[in-house]
Symmetry: C2
Subunit: 405 residues, 2 copies
């Protein structure tokens, strides 16, 4: 655990003690609404308050906080998926808790401590199954999305009898899920069509220590990053026989290892048109890769070590944030010209960005300024500023409509 | 009007008298709910009842009708867009009415007769403006999405003083809208950033009689079909200077004109990976076009004259329906192999198809069987069958999250 955690999570935990004493949430009066009015869910979302273990609920049409839900435990690392109807957020916390939050009623409906140490979750395309990926004890667990009843416990047992940490979980069609085993160097596909009896297919020898992974927006290409060596492991999920192909042999710390302040998130990778835009590891560059050959075709110099490299939904822009010490900046790449067209300074310790579904706005969490900043992506003018205590991840309900989360 | 209407709309109106006497709607008791419960909107949708001028409201998680709204007028041709929150459906009817329906409360909130003859509408990316495209009087009208208050009337006046019919309307970012002028052979972009004073840019001489158009899913490529000649007119909306390029010179009735029973809908065009799949006009073929060169690279023989050629959201499948006399069939193309993998017979007079957002199901309207059939796209097994009176268009709220509708 130690090396992976020290590197990957150092910057995520560094700010936990920086809580500004006077930072009252502006919407605390909305915590216990008396009789919630009818409301659509297509423009709602949640912001993780990482220090207080709470969610700020937001509306992207009014660009305001609409409520708050407390009692989610340790959210120093957290991820969220949504029910098909957009009403429920499933929050996976660092402490192994899985919590189902009713965004409309603004309350927790179900909560289970399902592991000692967890790194995220996913939801099946039919919305019926929620799966958690766990470090301790290593494996995945399958839950009924309506009740959080445990349907199956799938340990990631290695040939030596020990269990591997699980990373890089993503949903595939037909109640299948793909994930990687950090300690076993393997990629697994769990078919949960019979959710109490999942069938697991394992692809071994994919490379040393996969630490994160992504699924392309169309669900076809699964790519795992390797912590223990350079390069990446790729699987074509549409192939009749699944097999691993190694790509981008130089990806990683490369021939001249550099200090890496934070391993970039693979899930942030942008695929726009024919190109993928990747955070270089340890270098102040964004790599441009042709998605037909998976060869590098260019590098764009940026203002620091990139963490998230995210495409606006139309692919015309790619937004980049950075690790310490450059995490007060955000840069914007214009993809047709592959040049940087803007550098913003939204606040202190930019941790995450989320685009509205049609891309007209981007929401940026600034942990140490206790602000979420909303920008017009076309003009880069500030549209709104929300006070939120130590915000980290931002998740909008439109994620329910997409694969690979 | 005559030629266009006779060809394009004949099959849309042919079935209006075929109403089965005993076809009661199964959910009529839900028409006036007493106190609507809290409900997410991400998995809701509407089905046009074309003969009765009503909507059947549906839930794609339970695969059931959840209610019904009447009083929408002439829906013999109708299209729908949704508010950002997924709560409101804006219905544009053949008779020139624009109606705002509250899907949660199951009632009409606003309704205006805004033209004598209308062909559809669009909504701005910020959700504030709704625009209708009208045949009579020719032009567009801009409305406040919250109230349907008229903000601007933009006549499509030609140099000779007469007005052109408007077709092919789609939303662009930043409160802009693109559309085509059937009688003027032009493409227009209306900038409604000041909605009471739209600024219109006109690209003239695009070709004879554009009759429909589509915008690619990323909002970059606008393509208008030409009724008066072969070929298509394309505009790159990201170019610094907008200009029209003619593509696919043989597209249309071609060197050997064939009887055309129904002009195919351009909006159904599938763009999957690097290829677009297009309905051939009058021929029993789907054309495969490379979207980098816009050259034809293949043809797939199909069971009739294609009408809608639609990609499943992941692009792995393309589903095709047909004009009379083959409109009882639906075919499924596997895009990696470009072969037909299934032929279904869902019912009589298949008019429309809509995929669930993550593509696990497809809903198919069978007008003359008074059924909407729901299929698992992976297994092609029937998942549900809903009784709906003369169903035509099916629209799910996830459309609110996408450009180009």
């Amino acid at each position: 655990m130690s090396t992976l955690h020290r590197r990957a999570l150092l910057s995520l935990t560094a700010g936990a003690g920086l809580l500004a004493a006077g930072c009252a949430n502006t919407t605390s009066t909305a915590t216990t609404p008396a009789a919630p009015a009818l409301q659509g869910t297509g423009d709602l979302g949640v912001v993780i308050e990482r220090a207080l273990g709470a969610l700020t609920l937001v509306n992207t049409s009014t660009r305001q906080a609409i409520g708050r839900v407390e009692g989610l435990g340790d959210l120093s690392h957290a991820s969220v998926v949504f029910s098909r109807d957009g009403r429920y957020a499933f929050v996976f916390g660092r402490d192994g808790a899985a919590t189902r939050v009713d965004i409309l009623a603004q309350k927790i409906t179900h909560r289970v401590m399902q592991a000692g140490n967890s790194i995220g979750g996913a939801i099946s395309d039919d919305g019926r199954l929620v799966v958690a990926q766990n470090y301790t004890p290593g494996g995945i667990k399958v839950f009924d999305a309506a009740t959080l009843e445990l349907l199956a416990d799938v340990p990631a047992t290695m040939p030596n009898g020990q269990r591997s940490r699980v990373v890089g979980l993503a949903d595939l069609p037909q109640r299948r899920f793909v994930y990687s085993l950090f300690d076993a160097g393997a990629i697994c596909i769990a078919d949960c069509s019979d959710p109490r009896q999942p069938k697991v297919t394992t692809l071994p020898n994919i490379g040393k220590q996969p630490y994160d992974a992504l699924l392309s927006p169309n669900g076809r290409t699964y790519i795992a990053g390797l912590f223990g060596e350079d390069g990446l492991a790729m699987v074509d999920m549409w192939a009749p026989k699944l097999q691993v192909r190694r790509i981008l042999g130089g990806y990683g710390r490369g021939e001249q290892p550099l200090p890496v302040y934070k391993m970039p998130h693979l899930r942030g990778w942008a695929i726009a048109g024919q190109h993928a835009y990747l955070p270089a590891v340890g270098r102040h560059e964004v790599l441009v890769v042709d998605t037909t050959t998976w060869e590098e075709v260019g590098r764009i110099p940026v203002a620091g070590q990139p963490v998230f490299v995210m495409a606006r939904p139309d692919g015309r822009q790619v937004w980049v944030n950075f690790s310490v010490p450059d995490y007060h900046r955000v840069q914007v790449i214009d993809t047709p010209s592959q040049t940087i067209i803007d550098t913003l300074e939204p606040g202190k310790a930019v941790l995450h960005m989320e685009f509205t579904p049609r891309g007209e706005s981007v929401w940026i969490s600034c942990r140490d300024s206790h602000q979420v900043q909303v920008y017009d992506t076309h003009t880069r003018q500030l549209q709104a500023s929300l006070k939120v205590d130590a915000p980290s991840g931002i998740f909008f309900t439109a994620r329910a409509q997409r694969m690979g989360f």
